[in-house]
Symmetry: C2
Subunit: 310 residues, 2 copies
DNA sequence: CCCGGCAATACTTTTGAGGTATTGCCAGCA
DNA sequence: TGCTGGCAATACCTCAAAAGTATTGCCGGG
């Protein structure tokens, strides 16, 4: 049985007349008669009653037609859905990201993307840089935001684009003696109880702090370790010590604390967006476009990437 | 687009390999390649990625395949449903009936039919004999149970079969003086307050009572009129008088009353089953068959009707 | 009894699905 | 680097069947 049989049966039921139905279908009457006869033979049941008053579906015909119409609807929808998927209007995007990305670029990016692509299912996975790259290579993620470029097996199949610079800043309670300072020096920091984020997950951040405080400094060893920047800020607010974290944490609105620059200015690894080089999906392209529109200082590589409309 | 394209795409997605999918479909590989290419051209989107590792659906392909599978399921179900409808396993039966039919043949018939044809939707319409026949002729009913044969315009297009005889019986309270009698005479009835059913809807019943009591009798004029036999029995039980009704009302289980024959035995119109002569639907045939199995004294016409398996 | 309208049948044409043979394109390997 | 094997695409042919034309057959209404 072919879709043609369904279309013909539906048209015949619609017009209740072989000649007119055939005309509507753009064919002559005899072929329509034959196709309907073939259909009835295949189904094994008379689907239409031919009377002088017109051609009407039998009970079996009504049952058949109900299914036939649904089948034809599905077929029409198949083309529509395929087109929407190809244009990236539907689908799925699995995004891996480091926690600090939640502070700055992600809120704007995600809300904009959700508005532009309401039918794309976003799957968000907070994970350390070290876990993102293998997941991208294995095809478990579509795109990742990491601190520093991806490394490890298969990294050469990934495209990486820096989308934001970062450096170390301090956060102190508004009643802390340093709160009035424009910036805090490394020496001052070494004399204070410090609060830093859990180091093992993001060694690049730890390296930055070591650079700032000196590799032999015992300040880091004695520091309070917090799981995330919110905790750092909370602890700093309550006067436990001076929090150290990425400048991105300025984005967290919180009364009772002050953010201060630290001298010397200590760069942290760039926030890097990466994805599989062979991935040309429209959903990914749309996401990259959103990133470009939301992040002022994206690398040229991303613009290049968005040029070709393959 | 034809169902063939859907089947081929589904098979290709299943086997992830043009050659093997073609083998499974019973065709050679080149035609499959061509059909898939044609499909992709028509949809306007690449549906499969051909890689060295195999052939995999693109995101658009996945969206397309989901619809394609549903469409194929509908097509398969269309044939199945048409067959079930043609065998009378599904569908609708609109039954018109006089209230007294609810007493005797209908409970058994309906429960049996409901068991044998669980997927047939039964539409039950209690109506007077005079309304059933036009409804049958107009195609608003499929089958009717009436008192006496159908009459009126178009009645010649109806088939009528007597399925049960009936006569007048009396119902009295167990404490009524007549309660002990084997039968009650017409004379005795004329000396009692009577309870009869509403006459206008079923003139044939009124005619029967007139025959029994005498056309000039004032007994009928002074009788209490009840809407249905349940009311007659209820009023009789409470001692209002002697109820007169069809022998069918014996089927109503009710403590506190006794049913008595009436002499002379006064026949009431036969219970008649009728339907459109041109109606050959399987659901109707199944219903007639149920009637035959449930009513011992159906006319030969019904058995004739069930013979041909057209 | 003829006529008109309609579906079915008979027969022809033509489209396109499917078959065979071949090419082209890599990936793996010597 | 060239060779080979596996696979999809291309080229070309064949034939089934979809569609067209002409005609018949069947009623129902003048």
């Amino acid at each position: 049985m072919e879709a043609r049989h369904l279309r013909y049966a539906v048209a015949l039921a619609e017009h209740e007349h072989f000649g007119r139905a055939a005309g509507e279908l753009g064919i002559a009457q005899p072929p329509l008669s034959k196709q309907i006869a073939d259909l009835e033979r295949e189904v094994g049941v008379r689907l239409f009653d031919r009377t002088r008053q017109g051609v009407f579906p039998t009970a079996a015909g009504e049952a058949f037609l109900a299914r036939a119409r649904r089948a034809l609807d599905e077929i029409a929808a198949a083309t529509v859905d395929a087109g929407r998927a190809a244009r990236g209007e539907t689908g799925r995007l699995r995004l891996g990201f480091v926690a600090s990305a939640l502070l700055d670029p992600l809120p704007g990016v995600l809300s904009r993307f959700g508005r532009e692509r309401p039918d794309v299912r976003l799957e968000l996975h907070e994970m350390a840089t070290s876990r993102s790259s293998p997941a991208l290579v294995a095809g478990e993620l579509d795109v990742a935001l990491t601190l520093g470029p991806p490394r490890g097996a298969g990294a050469e199949h990934l495209v990486s684009v820096p989308i934001g610079r970062d450096h170390v800043i301090a956060v102190v309670s508004t009643v802390h003696p340093y709160a009035g300072q424009q910036s805090i020096s490394a020496d001052q920091l070494r004399r204070q109880p410090l609060i830093v984020s859990a180091g093992e997950d993001e060694p690049a951040v730890v390296a930055g702090l070591r650079t700032l405080l000196g590799t032999d400094s015992s300040a880091l060893g004695g520091a309070t370790v917090a799981r995330d920047v919110h905790t750092i800020i909370g602890l700093a607010a309550s006067g436990v010590g001076v929090g150290l974290g990425p400048s991105r944490m300025r984005a967290v609105p919180r009364p009772g604390v002050r953010f201060c620059e630290v001298t010397p200015r200590t760069p942290l690894p760039d926030l890097i967006l990466s994805f599989a080089a062979r991935d040309h999906s429209a959903v990914l392209r749309a996401f990259l476009d959103t990133i470009r529109k939301n992040c002022p200082d994206v690398g040229a590589a991303l613009n290049d990437r968005l040029r070709p409309h393959t």
